[in-house]
Structure formats: C-alpha cells, structure tokens
Symmetry: C2
Subunit: 208 residues, 2 copies
C-alpha cells in the first residue's frame, strides 16, 4: 500500500484499472456503490477514500488496486451512472416500434430510476465542477441516444422528418427536470403518469 | 471595518443590507456584477471578497456595508440572477395574447440571455452545493411562472385544460437544456430558431 500511495504512484498510468477476475469486478462494483452513497450524501470534497472503503467493507489498501485516487473513483462513478442511465433507457425502449411509445417508456423508466437513485443528480451535477469533461460527455451521449431514436422514428414516418438535435435536447431537458421534481424531490405524480404526459406533449402538443 | 469584521459582526443580522441611497444601490449593483464574473470564472470556493472588490473598483472595507460574507453575496447573486431571468421572460411575454406565441418569445429571450451571460449556468448550478435552498427556489419560482402562463392559456381555451405542473417542469427543462447547449456552449442554431422549434413542439408535437 505504501508503495502505491507513495512516490511510485506517479509512475502508474492515469487510466482506470480494470480488474481481470470476477472477484475483482465484484469488489470494484462494491466500491462504486459505496462511492455513490458517500458522494451522494457528503459531496465530493467531504467524502474520503477511508469512508468509502469502510462503507464498502473493503480494505483501504485494496482501494488502489482499483482506482488511483478519489478523483479517479468519482470520474469512474459518473461514467458508470451515465452508462446505467443509458442501459435503463435501452432496456425500456427495447422491442417498441413506435417512436413516441418508445420515448414514453424511456421517460417512465428514467423517472423511476431517479426515484430509486436519488443520489444520481447530486453526483452528476457535482461533476460539472469536479470533472467537467465527463459531465459534458454524459449529456452529449444522452442527447445523442435520443436524437438517434428520433431519427429512426423519422425514417419510419412516425415523426416529422426535421427532428434533430434541438428536439433531442428539449426532450432530455424535460426528462432531467421531471426526474428532479417528481423523482428526486418526490411528489404525487408517478413515473407512469409522467411518461404518459410527456408522450401526449410529444404526440400532439398542448393544443386543445 | 475592523468593527464590522470583528466580533461585533455576530451582532449584525444575517439579512441582506439594502442600501438606502442611489449611490449605495449602484455600488451594490457593481459588486453583484463583479461577483458574477468572479464566481463564473473561478467558482465559489476559489473566489474571494478581495478579488471581487478589486474587480468592482470598490474599497474592501465598503464590502461589508453591502454583504456580510462571501456566502451572503453569493446568495444575493443567485437571487438576483433568478430575478433577472424572470424579468427577461416577463418582458418577452408582455403584450402577447396567445400562450404558445408567448412561450416562443420567452424561450428565445432566455436562450439569448444565456448566450450573453454564459456565467449564469455555472453560478446557478453551483448554488445546488453552496446554497441549496436558493437553488431550489430558483427552479420552483421559474416553473411556477410557466405554470401560471399555461393556466392563463388554458383559461382562454388556447391549450388543453389539464396542463399543469408536469408540463411547466417539462417546458422549463427544455429551456434550461437548450440554453446550455445552444446558448452557453454555443452553436449554429440561434435563439429565434430555437424558440420556433420549441413552439412547434408545444403547438403540434413531433407528429408528421
């Protein structure tokens, strides 16, 4: 451990250290989950590697097998959460042919995810200050996925042919703020109802 | 100055100190504008009262006539920016009778404001961590204004009668993320075009 934390640490590459064994992958996952709780509760600056390894039930010395610093762990966590948001959307969208039914399912699934993972916003939001590049990539990737789904719908004549980046960012913005208001803060409107109302807005606007 | 910064400072109320003279109001405005630049460039933690007063051309000792701490100045700045966003929207909406034309004007004006005031997002976003209550109030107030405009439109039979908080947060989310993507980050789609596309989405959805 001393070797890893001492001067030698500067010799190690700044890339993430991918575990090669199943057990290693499990420990890495345990550290990420503990980090989500710690960063979500205390914020980046007041969180510590000691606190995270204690939550995870992982020896402090093992930490550096997986991440080279608190910053590297935070970056990996943001990328992990970003990927999980993408996976939740892909799972919800799978097998639905109509583009707006698909967006309804994705919105509902995302609101449910935000409801269950209230730490999501604080961590992604803090990334703007701790790791701006990963923060920006999170939104660019999410908007890119929405734009691709909308283009598929346009190709199938299900939506206007001119839908593009503006509509993708508009839809992402709806989902993010509805997830904050009704998922993280909580309220009396559930994920299914929010999905229906977003889909109604996308389908026919707010016209009478 | 020593009296204001020393032990006596604890005797002063934590409320903001409103200047009573025109000159005082101008100095306060100058401090807020300098704070917007400093906090926007350096973030809250790396900003200093010394740096802000130097930018403002205001004597360090005068600072405490207006704000009791860096935190109090930040809080006042977030409230000030939040109010300015509201004023920009109200000015754009004024005199427009159709609810969706009104929202189009508000969206365009907000994107233009974000384009000109790129520090807006970093400051509001950092408030989530520095002053969560003011941050939350910013979005609740903004969504409340949108909901009120939509209800007026519903009362005039211009939009569905069931529009409410979900649609208001959806619309706010669109505006916030479009302002980030096309205002702060910049791009080839201007405020007017974004207003048109948001209005088209609100008017008739994405249907062909």
């Amino acid at each position: 451990m001393a070797g890893l934390r001492g001067p030698k640490a500067t010799d190690t590459p700044t890339v993430e250290r991918s575990p090669r064994t199943e057990r290693g992958r499990k420990t890495r996952r345990t550290l990420l989950d503990a980090a989500a709780v710690e960063f979500g509760e205390r914020g980046f600056h007041d969180s510590s590697i000691v606190g995270i390894t204690q939550r995870a039930g992982v020896a402090l010395g093992s930490f550096y097998t997986y991440f080279e610093s608190k910053e590297a762990l935070f970056r990996a966590l943001v990328a992990d959460m970003s990927a999980r948001v993408g996976d939740v959307g892909a799972a919800a969208a799978g097998g639905i042919d109509d583009v707006l039914e698909r967006e309804q399912a994705v919105t509902s699934a995302f609101i449910a995810f935000a409801t269950e993972h209230k730490e999501l916003y604080r961590i992604i939001d803090e990334a703007e200050f701790v790791d701006p590049a990963t923060w920006r990539a999170h939104y660019e990737n999410a908007a890119g996925r929405i734009a691709a789904r909308l283009r598929t719908g346009a190709g199938n004549n299900q939506v206007r042919s001119d839908v593009g980046e503006v509509e993708a960012w508009a839809l992402m913005g709806m989902n993010v703020f509805l997830g904050l208001r009704f998922g993280v803060w909580g309220g009396d409107v559930g994920p299914e109802e929010i999905g229906r109302r977003v889909a109604a807005l996308l389908r026919e606007g707010l016209a009478r």
